[in-house]
Structures are given as C-alpha cells and as structure tokens.
C-alpha cells in the first residue's frame, strides 16, 4: 500500500536509510506483528515498531499494572496502577502513532490461543517470561512458517536470536525441555530490557522489509556489565521435537 504525504513526512529519516527507502516503508505499513507480553521487553519492541510505522500490532498481555512493573515496562504509567496493562499500552502507542491499528488481547499467549494469535500476524516477537508460553509460540511459528524474534534478559545480560522456520534452529533446538532452574521473577534493569527491546524491534524491521542480515542461526549475547557482545553460532538439532527430522516426517511443522 502506497504511503500518504503524512507518512512520508513522519518516516522521512528512516526512508533515507540505504536499502530501505519508500519500498521498505510500504512493507512495514503492510505488516502485522504479535508482541507477546508488553512488559519490559515488549513495551519497547511495541513502541519502536509503532514509531517505525508498522501497520498493525497484536498485543497479548494479561493482568493489571503493578508498582514493580514501572522500572522497565515503559508503556505503563504511575497513573495507570491497577488498570489493565494492554489498555495502557494501547493508549500510549496511539498517542505516538494514531495511524497504527492495534488489537489488544487481555490474556497471555498459551497452548489454547497460540494458533489463533500467531495466525493473525506476519511475524512474532517473543517477550514472555514463562517457558511454556515461549514454547507454545515457537511451536506455532514453526507450524505456520512465521518468523519469531526471541528476546531474553537476566540481570545485566541479554540474549537475542531470530528464528526463521525451516532455515534456522528453533527454540526447541536450543532448549529441548522446560528449564528447571528458571524463575519467572528475576533481577533486571529497565535499561537492559530496553536494549534487548530495541534490538528485537530492529530484527523485526529487518525481516519484514528485507533489510540487512537477521540473527538467524546466531545468538547474540550481551553482557552490559562490561559491554561484551558475542555472536554465537547455534546448532540446528536433527532430533528436535518441533523442527527436527522426525517432527517433519510426522507433519508437526
């Protein structure tokens, strides 16, 4: 869909990026993205995608705003304490970009709604804290052939990779089982979640517009204590239950 004069004016600075241009901007306008949870990571992913001119966002996040959200969940406000997170997120995003189409979903992604939510969009950004949620998202993305950006953080560390089904290892290749030691509440700064959120949004923009090289098959690890960044090569696992040879033979993916 071609751009309006207002859109050309708003996105002028990024349209100047070589390899992106007006064609890239039109691709973003025609794209839809599911952000699963709009917490520390997802708030920043959604805000950056709204700023970049994505056409449609599906936001999935249950629950109401708590004081402990406010160090990092940048779409939540002090005035909104006790109110639904997705309502606050939708309002903040509309303030920035009134052209954006938003589908707010007041529940977290689960095995029950994953197929439908993933089916709504062109690409998914995983910002969820619980691994069963992340596995359900991965399973559906592999099944439906949708790109999945995996964003994660802990303390002052970040990990991010991009899953292109059929081309790169999936989340099941990385973690064949629910990590037993993982707790859904953990130490982190908002500046760390914001860093990963910006990286995740950039990956989404690249994949949707065909710009640059996404992190497919590569895990970027960042240690913000000493600003050490590594690009680590991931193995695709032939015995993966989700995207491996046996799963393909069974028609799982």
């Amino acid at each position: 869909m071609s751009l309006t004069d207002e859109e050309r004016a708003v996105y002028e600075w990024q349209i100047w990026v070589p390899g992106f241009g007006e064609t890239g901007q039109e691709k973003l306008k025609d794209s839809s993205v599911l952000v699963s949870r709009v917490g520390g990571l997802g708030s920043v992913v959604a805000y950056e995608l709204a700023a970049a001119g994505i056409g449609r966002l599906v936001l999935a996040h249950a629950g109401n705003i708590k004081p402990s959200d406010l160090n990092r969940q940048l779409l939540m406000t002090h005035a909104g304490l006790g109110q639904p997170r997705v309502t606050s997120a939708e309002r903040r995003l509309r303030e920035l970009n009134p052209r954006l189409e938003i589908l707010p979903v007041g529940e977290n992604l689960s095995e029950e709604n994953a197929a439908q939510l993933v089916g709504e969009v062109d690409l998914v950004v995983d910002c969820a804290p619980r691994f069963p949620e992340r596995f359900a998202m991965n399973r559906q993305c592999v099944r439906q052939g949708k790109p999945l950006i995996e964003c994660a953080m802990y303390d002052m560390e970040a990990q991010i990779t991009t899953i292109l089904p059929g081309q790169s290892p999936c989340l099941g290749c990385l973690y064949p089982e629910d990590p037993p030691a993982w707790k859904r509440e953990f130490p982190v700064f908002g500046a760390v979640s914001g860093t990963v959120g910006c990286l995740g949004a950039m990956e989404a923009i690249k994949v949707l517009s065909g710009l640059g090289e996404p992190l497919a098959g590569t895990l970027l690890t960042c240690d913000l204590r000493n600003m050490t960044f590594h690009r680590r090569r991931l193995l695709r696992q032939p015995d993966c239950d989700i995207c491996g040879d046996a799963a393909n033979d069974r028609g799982v993916s």
């Binding site: 949870r37 804290p129 619980r130 964003c151 953080m153 973690y175 990590p179 030691a181 895990l219």
Partner: protein, 93 residues
C-alpha cells in the same frame, strides 16, 4: 592443559564468578569438564548444570569458542587454550 570457562546468567549467579582458568591433568570432553566444575563448586552449581542422573541439563547452552556444542556429544573434546562458555536459558518479563 589449561582451558578458560565463562559463566553467564544463572550459571554465573551459581558460581559467583564470570570466568575462571581451569587446569586439567589430561584431555577431557566438555561434559567431563562440566562434572569437574560441579565437583569443584558444589551447590548450587550442581543443580543448575546437572540433572538428577548426573547428566548435563539439556537446557544449558554450551559454546566452544563461538560455536555451540552439545554436552551429550562425547566427541566434543577440549584442547589446551579452549574457551567453554556455559549459558542458562533466560526469558522476558
């Protein structure tokens, strides 16, 4: 021989350090090194890295240099000067 081990996320929290140099009397596999590290550090590193059968947890990511390796692959042998990085899974929130 000497290898460097780097710890990240919850593995780092369990050891209290981000890296160490480990001197080994003889060449060993990556999995054998993990069991040696657990013997040196004890808990809580043991329960982060090993399952109830004493095998490396399948959800721990291991990298030799920048390349992922499987800890259940006995052919992954460490050489003098190698760096093994152990990462625990992390998520969003």
């Amino acid at each position: 021989m000497q290898v460097t081990v780097e710890y990240a996320a919850q593995v780092r929290q369990a050891t209290g350090i981000s890296r160490e140099e480990v001197t080994l009397a003889e060449p060993c596999s990556a999995a054998e090194l993990v069991r040696e590290l657990v013997a040196r550090h004890g808990e809580p590193l043991g329960s982060v890295l090993l399952n109830s059968e004493g095998q490396p947890q399948r959800s721990i990511l291991a990298f030799l240099g920048e390349d992922q390796v499987r800890l259940d692959d006995a052919s992954v042998q460490l050489a003098d000067g190698d760096t093994l990085t152990l990462l625990s899974p992390v998520s969003g929130g």
